[in-house]
Symmetry: C2
Subunit: 346 residues, 2 copies
Amino acid sequence: MSETTTKYRIAVIPGDGIGKEVTPWAQKALEQAVQGAADFEYENFDLGAERYLRDGAILPDEELERIKTTDAILLGAVGDPRIKAGILERGLLLRLRFELDQYVNLRPSKLYKGVTSPLATPGEIDFVVVREGTEGLYCGAGGAVRRDTPAEVATEVSINTAYGVERVVRYAFDLAMKRRKHVTLVHKKNVLVNAGDMWQRIVDRVGREYPEVSHDYCHIDAATIYMVSDPSRFDVILTDNLFGDILTDEAGAVVGGVGYSASGCINACNEFPSMFEPIHGSAPDIAGKGIANPTAAILSAAMLLRHLGFDEDAARIDAAVEADIAELGSTPRSTDEIGRDILARL
Amino acid sequence: MSETTTKYRIAVIPGDGIGKEVTPWAQKALEQAVQGAADFEYENFDLGAERYLRDGAILPDEELERIKTTDAILLGAVGDPRIKAGILERGLLLRLRFELDQYVNLRPSKLYKGVTSPLATPGEIDFVVVREGTEGLYCGAGGAVRRDTPAEVATEVSINTAYGVERVVRYAFDLAMKRRKHVTLVHKKNVLVNAGDMWQRIVDRVGREYPEVSHDYCHIDAATIYMVSDPSRFDVILTDNLFGDILTDEAGAVVGGVGYSASGCINACNEFPSMFEPIHGSAPDIAGKGIANPTAAILSAAMLLRHLGFDEDAARIDAAVEADIAELGSTPRSTDEIGRDILARL
Ligand SMILES: CC(C)[C@H](C(=O)O)[C@@H](O)C(=O)O
Ligand SMILES: CC(C)[C@H](C(=O)O)[C@@H](O)C(=O)O
């Protein structure tokens, strides 16, 4: 990313379904938040289920190379029930995360005033999940032998490196310093003893460099209990790729639906562009009706701005969203109405 | 198990902490439910954290062999924070599950009248998780190289066989026939494509033999959302070892706490004894105070009876528990008071 000019090239992948409906609002929020202090140039990438169904392309190498030259990526949502599970996930979403070495998958969860949690007494919920993004069971290691016979064996291999774990552990402790200074490692070290033990040792060692930050440990099964019984206990949750996937969806539900949750796939050393997206999917059931909630997409724009260093502008988007939900969160509104209402507060 | 006499040898492993306080109530419930129609002979096994701390033994081979000759196992709870994670889990609990080939880990979840769910509008919750118990990431395959160096690599291998998956899939469909005739496969087949694809193919194939049973599929991350947003949708959840571990703890929380949930580790072909236990742990914080709730242990006695064919007696325990909770669930009572109250209804 350039230091001397305020021009940023943003790759935009609207994707499928409601992804295409909410992404323009993320772009509008970007523009309006910086008020001319930065110049965003967008390059659209036609990637996702529709493209795949049309011409069979998932993520052509040239397009990946072009994406690599941008400063950041805005993603809408990708997916279509007509496509076999795994094709777009592994070929597009995970390929981007891996090729761009987006090792921090950052997922804040906050219960906004005005949103109804499914919990009877949710309390204050405001934590961030720091999910490792480039290792574990997501590596694609594994295979099947004697496929489709009674003797079939299928394996999946979780690969974890000290290199990969340490960098995300450091990110979590740095983040905790800016928050309530508590890190909870979530793993299953009583069963996954090799990987779990390595995670715990690295957390203990790095933790000693952050004497102000306390840290504890929680098995993934117990974490899913706390997520409904006492989510306020969490500040920064640090976990691996698969546990992070599971826990952030549960967290999304607990804060009133994935419609209010954004996420960043971050290459924290800025070697490659980072990617920002709502955590909801393409929602084919409501696509095309103009009723998708653009709030999560707009929040992903705030995460993008924060990543580029526009902390104050990002905070203004967050505040606008917060005020909008507090006042109008329960009013049925169209995509455009919600988008306009939030932008009007910027 | 003998067909000609009504004598059954039960291995009892009270274990640690509250395990030792609640297990006697499970035994009393067994006795009283069958009212002399079966003769239970108990053999106590001193296994768990206390034994390990005393003499270093985890599960001596002779004791395992003796356990193998019994008709069923009642387990309390095992664990102590002084022992490093993994030692008792892998050496005792998982060793029993694997050596006794307890391939069905059966975990019913029911929201009893009188229990307060953390959900604001829980609806009717009554489902069973059929968790595979002898494969997946629990195999203990994996290792670490260059341990404790910056170049460390730690792996965990999920091993899944058609043999192991098919038998638990059949169990789930058989169970669904006795229930609301719906099976939900939970996996992460969009990422764990080898194992997920095998599970789905086997479910599809076996499902064709059960035309009355409908089945659908749900990613583990989405399942954790439904578990808080719409748990009534589930009847029989069929899943692998790790996903089952995670989902059943979340389910336990949603039905008002793991204190009301029992589980069976079942060798459904009766080659080896099956094991029944409350899903709660040894709870060192409340151990010795006489306040642990024996309800889950008593429910595990009902599961044991059902496994031995005493369906009606098992149903009577379930009914007694249900009536007790409905009437007195919110009254603070000691372990012995709850035990006596439930038994008085038998
Ligand atoms: C679509 C899928 C590959 C992805 C994941 O598992 O990471 C999604 O669930 C997410 O959480 O971003
Ligand atoms: C103690 C542990 C090994 C065990 C598991 O992971 O299966 C427990 O969490 C359970 O669910 O019975």
